[in-house]
Symmetry: C2
């Protein structure tokens, strides 16, 4: 049972949680979209966000990574970006595979010798030593050389551009797994590669895919079902849910196999971009992929039928960018010396935020205080609550600067151990969302944070 202190704070925070999407600390002016910096300089919110992601270890420094990231591609992620993406993928996985008993996870290979026919196959994994050997063959004429290189290229495995094909190839064992009973789904998350639009590296994309097999007469119903589910999922974690929306893809933009398609888009400061695409795609690709096994493709939903396919394909790198963009609040505030400051807060959803708790020491750090921190750190880690070991930082900065830094990182709670903690067991907890500081007993902090996150997960 939580102590009276935790109960008191929990009930206070239940209110906070409801107002997570409201203005944050009272009395401050929030600016979204274009805004003025303290110096009067006009700031591009997209650029502000990227700079913050670089400064606060979401992505690796370097213009290349920032540009990749902005374009919704995988880049070198720093510790916070990696943790955010893990949390996002875990939530996706949970929502897709655990919401229904009949979704199974799979994991297929990135390279394949047979996928040249699926419209992909543009990117190939080439063994450069083997190609060099062909180029060194003195005896070949130019025409023979060209022919050999062509054959070599064709035999080199193609690299997947999406996860759909891999799932379609798994239909026969999967039907066996479910005793042919429709509907069911195959879920996968993994890296996909798309040709670079410039001359650089191919785009790496962390894709999520649900391939849903159902009877032909229900496919339209399932497309609607999954669209509702997915949109609800995106909005669950959004500070401003209306920035996520869905829209039908115009008929003239549909690919050959697609009979209907819906996009879930996010309204970035620089325009709308798609996060996830849902498609009703009939059975043609399934039949094409499993030519030899046609007789084994029969599923059962009342009567025997070759299943139709509904695909749900997401770009989680861009999804990550959308949540970062959605959660950045810029507030004007006065500091203790009454100077006007721009306060940037990354108000990521408590479930997604990469660092739940930062552990710090107040003035006059001692060996004992460090030991208390280490104990707490272990306790948080064992409870799988991600914690930032701020007390290891040897740079002396003011509490105000520390709060500003943690707000930019998105840290949900800052816990400060002081001399008082050694005497009374009391520590100070600051909430990112209210900026309110409260006193709590050390024995209650872990449960408090843990309950706060669970509560946020359920709302």
């Amino acid at each position: 049972m939580p102590g009276p202190c935790v109960r008191r704070v929990l009930s206070a925070h239940a209110v906070v949680l409801k107002t997570w999407r409201s203005s944050g600390a009272p009395g401050l002016r929030i600016t979204r979209g274009r805004c003025s910096a303290p110096g009067g300089e006009d700031l591009d919110p997209g650029r502000t966000l990227l700079q913050l992601c670089l400064d606060r270890h979401y992505i690796s420094p370097g213009q290349t990574d920032a540009e990749l990231f902005r374009r919704g591609r995988s880049c070198s992620y720093g510790p916070l970006g990696l943790e955010l993406r893990s949390n996002l993928l875990e939530q996706w996985w949970h929502s897709v595979t655990r919401s229904r008993a009949r979704v199974f996870g799979i994991d297929t290979l990135s390279c394949s010798e047979d996928r040249g026919t699926d419209g992909g196959g543009q990117l190939r994994m080439v063994d450069s030593e083997n190609l060099k050997q062909i180029l060194e063959k003195q005896e070949l004429s130019k025409e023979q050389l060209i022919q050999e290189v062509r054959v070599f290229l064709q035999r080199s495995p193609s690299v997947r551009a999406n996860l759909l094909q891999g799932a379609l190839e798994q239909i026969v064992p999967s039907l066996k797994l479910v005793n042919r009973k429709l509907p069911f789904g195959l879920a996968e998350a993994g890296l996909c590669f798309q040709p670079s639009d410039g001359c650089g590296c191919p785009a790496e994309i962390t894709q999520t895919s649900l391939v849903w097999f159902c009877s032909p007469r229900t496919s339209s119903h399932w497309l609607d079902h999954w669209t509702r589910q997915r949109l609800k999922w995106w909005r669950k974690f959004a500070l401003s849910p209306s920035d996520f929306s869905s829209s039908d893809v115009p008929e003239e933009e549909l690919a050959e196999a697609e009979s209907r398609s819906v996009k879930i888009v996010y309204n970035f400061p620089w325009g709308q971009e798609p996060l996830e695409t849902l498609c009703s795609r009939g059975a043609s690709e399934l039949l094409q992929t499993n030519k030899e096994a046609r007789s084994k493709l029969q599923g059962q939903d009342g009567r025997k039928t070759v299943p139709h396919v509904v695909s749900v394909t997401g770009n989680m790198d861009r999804g990550l960018m959308a949540f970062l963009s959605n959660s950045l609040q810029q507030l004007k505030t006065e500091d203790s010396k009454q100077r006007l400051r721009q306060r940037k807060v990354l108000k990521l959803h408590p479930v997604l935020v990469p660092v739940k708790v930062a552990l710090d020491i107040g003035r006059g750090a001692t060996m004992e205080m460090r030991r208390v921190c280490e104990g707490l750190l272990q306790e948080f880690m064992e409870a799988k609550i991600s914690v930032w070991p701020g007390y290891l930082d040897t740079m002396q900065i003011s509490m105000e600067q520390l709060n500003a830094k943690y707000d930019e990182m998105g840290v949900l709670f800052t816990v400060v151990i002081s001399e008082n903690t050694l005497e009374s067991g009391l520590l100070q907890v600051r909430s990112r969302d209210t900026t309110i500081k409260e006193t709590m007993h050390i024995s209650e902090i872990k449960n408090f944070v843990s309950r706060y996150i669970s509560a946020a997960d359920k709302t």
Copy 2:
């Protein structure tokens, strides 16, 4: 508080847990290594294991995947293989990043334009359309053509063979993150690609990597530290820990940059194979990778120093294979009709096993019983306990066949809902490890399983 029934069963199972590594059900003869099948036929345990992995949805059907898997490479995993790998990676991640405050996770790109120099660079990602355009240039002489293809190849991004290089490239921002204080580590898990030894696809390998930066005088100490830690980790999840061992790599086999190296190997039925390699590698590669930034490479451990590198590189596909191989027990047993049968049990560690609970219905399934199953399924899923919806299976098989199937899948507990459950709330739970069936109240089953897994995690 757990009810008296749970407490009773828990204490019984505390004993079971201690004897998880013992013989299993009493009175049965266990055969490890080569063994005789009921028909007297001599079975190759390696082949038996592969067949079981195929039959029980650990890997996708098909000779190619089985062969890839046997060789310690990534293959198309079925739902159980995927879940086992996730659990394994989660445990690795937990052990490496959460055991010490100073290990940070990163995620780097698979392709790079600059990595041609690191000894890798043999595999390249090629845009086949661009190469075809070069081949179509009529005006080129043979020599010009060869030259253009060479330049094209050199400019095509190389694909990573390991994760070390990516971590070395992150040293500058990482030193900033830790205020230059040594030691610290960068952890990453991801796909790596190695040239095929035949003519097929390149080998895809799920690699784990910890790159540890420390002062030169402590690097040997840290190599020993991490070797102990890692071997302990492998053995923690093993049914037969002595099959995992470590040995020094002979000096003549060391690569140029390596000053000392240790391998952790597993004793497969077909011979020893390495699972993880630990290397003390000095500072030369770090300096080589960060040529322009030499002045920024200084770390601090008492005095200023360029850090030395200790790398810990694991192959988690082979690790998965090792745990499967280690946990397969073949027992001779008599069935109810006193026929001699071969019982195969996959006694995977409770934390690793992909399916913790199978939910089934006894004879005479009714709508109400199904609803009870669905309620329980939701309850388990919300507690993040993976559950197999056996009650959805429409194939009628005997309880004996069902148990045999679940033992081969490794399912920890089989829960059977009967008509009795509707009246009294009691259900039957069968344990994989003891084969004992117990009666328990439906309100207690989730906590029971949850506590059992936590207890196993702590031993």
